[in-house]
Amino acid sequence: MISSIVFINHKGEILVYRVYKDDITRSETTQFCAKIVATKENKECPIINIDGTSFIHITIKDIVVLATTKVNVNVAMTLQFLYQLVKVCRAYFGGEFDENCIKKHFVLIYELLDEVMDYGVPQIADADLLKKYIQEGGLKPELMNDVEKLKQLTSQATGATSWRPQNIVYRKNEVYLDVIESVNVLMSVKGTILKADVAGSIQMKCLLSGMPECKFGMNDKLLMQREPRKPGQTTTDKGITIDDLKFHQCVKLPKFDKERAITFIPPDGQFELMTYRITENINLPFKIMPVYNELGKNKLEIRVKIKSIFEKNLFGTNLAIKIPVPKNTANVSTNSAIGKAKHEPEQQGVIWRIKKYPGDFEALLRCEIDLGSTTNQQPWIKPPISIEFQVPMFTASGLRVRFLRVYEKSGYKPTKWIRYITKAGEYLHRL
């Protein structure tokens, strides 16, 4: 499988170098560093083949994380593993991942590398689990000598519910649910929707004792059709069509496949229960209507009208509308009733920021752009207008959580909290 894992900085210097198989020499790797990393060629393709050695890599900020191999490995898995490895490192370094902390914690990284991969084959790489038996500065001697505890640990690590240890106790049992939706839209120059989808994620924070069995339900059309209708009850909510769902490893997938029921024993603390993708009946929270005029050789006018399409009692927050302007922009005068608009040369655009934007409301921004003279005769290539926003208590897909049931043998009733928020993903309008 994988021959070696290497961490490289942007200059092409090796920071961590761990070999799993004998078939690769260090000089092959340094060649890759010199030829590819130092020349930034690595940004051009995630896999590079040099003389029969494949260099599979990802770049996180300035650090290149590289896996080398000489056999026909599964590339998707290798890349996924590299991402997982970075995730593990971040979990140990308090979210950081840069040259400094790699150098500072290199002993720990070697220890981790020894554990997460064996003979080039990915092994247990779950940070919460690893933390139970790999800690910086070594484990407490109590654990090392307590054979019972160790046995419990290894059986959890290799068992079917490796994500949750036994015997968790909370005085107050609580569950927090966050439904976070990112709306991706691409609108044509004329304002027709070229493509639109919602990438949703349900984040959960579980502070629950024991081994709770949870059952989670939303207004999923396919699920609601299966449910027997109670007599006398007429529901107008027919549910929404979900294109695709992906679940955390704790969710019992066969059960979902058969009954479309989402059941699981959650990990302790925060985790992403599921992600989903929806392409039908999306409620776009904002509509952008740009008008672009050339007023003369050195003068442009861009008017952007923006309209919120959600209920009046809701608010959009932290709007930032980015209107691209040409490179040779000399001066921009803006005029709008709300928010602040400013030309930000480093972003090559006018950024119109609005802190709080009411529902069902229209606003207009008018920009007059003076262009400096330029020798470059190429016509200006107009990037799309983009917008960032958040709308709390709104879901673009119409998704609603219908229930979250928790069964535990001690029979406690946890407190449940739920929040919804819709954010802009890639929300673009071509100009």
């Binding site: 260090r26 896999i47 590339v75 898995m77 890349l79 020894d114 003979y119 290799t158 992906k246 990037p383």
Partner: protein, 657 residues
Amino acid sequence: MAYFGNNPQRGELQELYADLNDLNFEKKKEAVKKVIAYMTVGKDVSDLFQSVIKCLEFNDIEMKKLIYLYIVNYSRQKPDDAIMVIQNFRKDVRKSENPLVRALAIRTFGCLRVPKLNEYLIEPLKDCIQDDDPYVRKTAVLCVPKVYEVSPEICPPLLDILQKLLEKESNALVLANLIQSMREIEVVSGKQIINLNQKIIQKLLLAVDECIEWGQIFILDYLATYNPQDSKQAEVIIERTLPRLSHINPTVTFCAVKVILKYLDFLDNGELVKNLCKKVAPSLISLLSWNQPEVQYTILRNISLILQKFPILFENDVKVFFCSFNEPYYIKYEKLDIMVRICDSKNFAQVLNELLIYLNEADPHFVRKTIKSIGKIAITYDKALDKAVSILAEFAKNIQSPTEPAQELLIQMQLIYKKSKQMYKHEDSLKIIYSIIDYANEPESKSACAWIVGEFGEFIPKSVEKMKEYIDNFQMEDRLVQLQLLTSAVQLYLKYPSQCSVLIQQLIVSAKDSFNPDVRDRTYIYWRLLSTDPEIVKNLVCFNSGTFSNFSKDLRLWETQDLVLALENMGSISNLFHKLPHQLYKNIKIKVNNQQEVKIYKGEEKPEAQVKEQQDENQQNIQKEQQQDIDLLNFDDPPANNNKNNNSNKTDVFELI
């Protein structure tokens, strides 16, 4: 931080040596860390071997791990010193109550790779494979291929134990590692080692539900190489794999897609196949928008394969391949490629509208590829011609320098005119193209320009002057351009004999002594023909038939008979380079496809229809492709070809000479 950046001078090694032998434990530990740091930056610290391994006597697990790392790194250089560590390993494996220590010892032991040490390893390894603790077992099974690689001769008893374990192991993670380990041995030995039976398959399917994500991938990857005995078994395996489509790890999903698609061939229920396709498609589309571009890239590189065997999966879904503005270019290139492949007579307008937008991108390579794609679509679909030419002509209006896109534009316009000469009238395209003809600076684009001047001489103002300009620089041109110039100049001569007679003589004079035999031969052929019978030349070089049927280019990447094998390897490196494993790796044996006919799953047709004509068509297409290749390389062959078909008596003349 402090450990890096310093080079070990001779004095430093001495200092380390002193610290390693110091009585103070902390000092020793710091010294070991320093040794590892030097090793990382590539300095040779093998001389400290003895001092380092002496530090093993302390029962500190962190330091132990570091020392093991050091031993693994240098054991082959110091095999005799490494023997001294053996006792330590054996003690750890046999005596330690701590499963983590046992596992660590056996893991490291296997990595020594010194043949003569391996015999000490066999017994402890046997113990570990049968250890009570699953954590030790999962480590031990992976140790077997390590030993096998170095000393295969001592391994047969170990292999027996592995096969027995395969039958009785109940822990999912151990089972997954076991499968992976046996597959590694299969690769090294070239023999089949895993003997499957119904019971083991059942166990593997059960293990998929229970083990960690990587384990799921190993098992699914393995199942994708297995051929089920009958439709019933295929159905069971698919049914048990389906839930994996909802796993959050995209690779698990992707492997599940692979297994399901592969087993579809073995099902005899057409309705079921259709339903399964409906289930697979949305999962696959989700993967395409995965937020890690590298992963997205690997999936995209496999799409051409899926498109070819399962066109049904992406029906009406060209939109999912539209590029976003902020994506890395390597993703955009793939998407562009796929959009051309997926383009058909129904959706070409939608695709062209999208490509039009990409012409505004900043990257010239990408714009160039976009133009090429537009050209490809135009010559593949007659209906798309008008729109494509409008787009390209509009783009040409803004060209003001010899950019890369300009080169491609000229090349594609030539191909379009070759396909349908009448297009020169559309939107005045010829006039617009002619206005940028001076920006050609690559052999291909220049030769395209020469072709245009010759072919459209009568519609272009001052075409003779233009030709003179070209001929004045004849010696400096590339062979490709020279050959085209010869044909084009003769063409022009036939159109304007009096104006061109001097020109053609000048050309013959400069070309007849060319070092290049092709150029020389062609010059002589034209020369002789012109001096005997210009009418023959006319039929040879003036090509007026209007349309070219040969242009419907086959966009398929894979040979149909390779599809099954390629599908088994979906996600692997070879597939990423659009090759079969044995084409990329010499040590992999060619696997023969036993299936006589490859099933193609189309939307309209019955899915189980054996598409035999597909293969015939493919054959034809290959032939066409060969012809087209000639077209592209040698620009005046089409007239010759055409001549062969239509005026066979004239061909004889050509052959005589």
